[in-house]
Symmetry: C2
Subunit: 315 residues, 2 copies
């Protein structure tokens, strides 16, 4: 029950109030793939240039990720440079160099086409639909997008939305897509566009999962030392689909737990620059934080005979 | 086990994207008092001018609030005028006329001094301390404040914080008070200033309760048609202390439930201009929304034999 992750692999340069890093491993497929790899088998489809350090590919392989679909082609790797403001909620893109990513046109191998779970990272909706058209046994398809596609490729995006099981966007993207800032109104409009489920990510404020008749709200797992929010959203999505694939169930409770596992993965990502902390986790740490999250959010002891201990919460 | 509420009673003029209202009943004591009145006996201490409509006083009395401490003095009632932007998260104060509120110096009656639960709305910390000094049997004291007092009356506020059980502030006030935007770091610093517990309100994103060794995060209860956010924070605080007084317990689970009841009360306040919707509630409606909130936030069925039905959540 593996996950196929299609998206970008990038070399990011990041400036935060706590320091800066140049050309570190980034990209939507990287974060989503690593996050999912703790739960299930992951195959990655992406493109890099001749300058992509072999140690990064090796790092992904050590995480157990099948990198056969990580094509190396002539040219330079996709680069993104961004700067975060003091409170880390606002960021400015300083430079984007698509490089080899501009010619990305994913061709899936036969084994990849049969993958039951698919995560389409934030790439051109034309490419997302091309990938989807190659899948033969997809049981569950999740998809991300961004402001550029909502504005410039709306028709293609709409055709995409009709065919997917889950759309994952942040609150600004939801506003732009639906044309209303109210998150419930926006969710209702987006659900009418076709996706069976919708997650609206709200950064440090958490996330909301919408289903056909359900709503599930979670706060984020708060971190005392947030170093670099880059990749948090993709780590969230990767943890979510990774857990779903591992649970082999698509009922409401599985989706809710998947959102919490996504929350946990994102909380680790922001604790270090790039994918460093995310990449060095153990499953024991993930499970421990999941249990901490239960304690931090619980207010009704549904089993009156089994009182939950609150005094172990980490504050 | 009643609650004494000390704060402002105002005539608010509010402009939102959905319309505007002039000179409607507002103020911290109004919202907190009405919210608390659904749970316990409430006495209100505030000041109004000769122009304060008798119907407003009657409205508070109908809610069962003891208005003996609502003094009417020569002059005009405190007025506030504000405007909300499109997404309702940002607001601008257009005009503040303190009027009779400038001379507010609360003198408690003997019965009020013996009240076990005290909510000190957002007034000058000198006055808050004066009220606190008059209390003889206070079991629990909660207190609000704002940027003006944090900047201009910091010493007095600090002396205040050492003596209270709960401080309720929003995230900007927490940042200003602690000097750091990270909410966990800010909470830790504020807890060191003295309050036994702390709630950081985050508007439409929910709230966080901090105790000596505990942390509890909740999302807000989302509303499809938010009309007017004015008073949401005071309604939250009133619901919180009202529930605490009614439960007559100050353990962790009571505080957590109190935060959820506060969340519920705030969600009703924002659904109409002013205190209209808040004031016409039934306890049945409050309980129903509390149960809805349980369903919206639950992800672990702690009692495996008693599966919670998700399909009744309101989306």
């Amino acid at each position: 029950m593996g996950v196929l992750v299609v998206g970008s692999v990038a070399l990011d340069s990041v400036i935060t109030p706590f320091g800066s890093k140049k050309d570190i491993l980034g990209g939507s497929a990287t974060y989503a793939g690593i996050a999912a790899s703790y739960f299930t088998d992951v195959s990655m489809v992406a493109v890099v240039g001749e300058d992509f350090p072999e140690e990064h590919t090796e790092f992904l392989r050590i995480k157990g990720i099948d990198t056969a679909g990580l094509r190396r082609v002539p040219g330079r790797t996709f680069r993104w440079k961004g700067k975060y403001e003091d409170n880390l909620n606002a960021r400015t893109t300083l430079d984007t160099q698509l490089n080899v990513f501009a010619g990305f046109n994913p061709e899936l191998a036969p084994g990849q086409r049969r993958c039951p779970y698919l995560f389409l990272g934030n790439i051109d909706p034309d490419l997302q639909r091309s990938v989807l058209g190659q899948m033969t046994d997809a049981k569950f398809v999740a998809c991300d997008t961004m402001n550029m596609w909502i504005q410039n490729k709306r028709d293609s995006l709409m055709k995409m939305l009709e065919r997917i099981d889950l759309l994952v966007v942040n609150d600004e993207e939801a506003w732009m897509l639906a044309g209303t800032p109210n998150v419930l109104q926006a969710a209702r409009k987006i659900m009418e566009m076709g996706p069976k489920r919708l997650v609206i990510k709200r950064g440090e404020y958490g996330a909301i999962l919408f289903g056909p008749r359900t709503q599930f709200c979670v706060p984020a797992f708060l971190i005392e030392n947030v170093f670099d929010p880059t990749g948090a959203g993709d780590s969230f999505a990767g943890g979510l689909i990774g857990y779903l694939a591992s649970s082999a169930s698509l009922d409401e409770i599985s989706f809710r737990k998947a959102v919490v596992y996504g929350t946990v993965m994102a909380s680790y990502t922001v604790a270090e620059f790039g994918a460093k902390r995310l990449g060095e986790l153990t499953f024991t740490e993930i499970e421990a934080r999941y249990r901490e999250f239960c304690k931090i959010t619980l207010f009704e002891d549904f089993n009156k005979n089994n009182a939950v201990k609150f005094d172990l919460t980490p504050f």
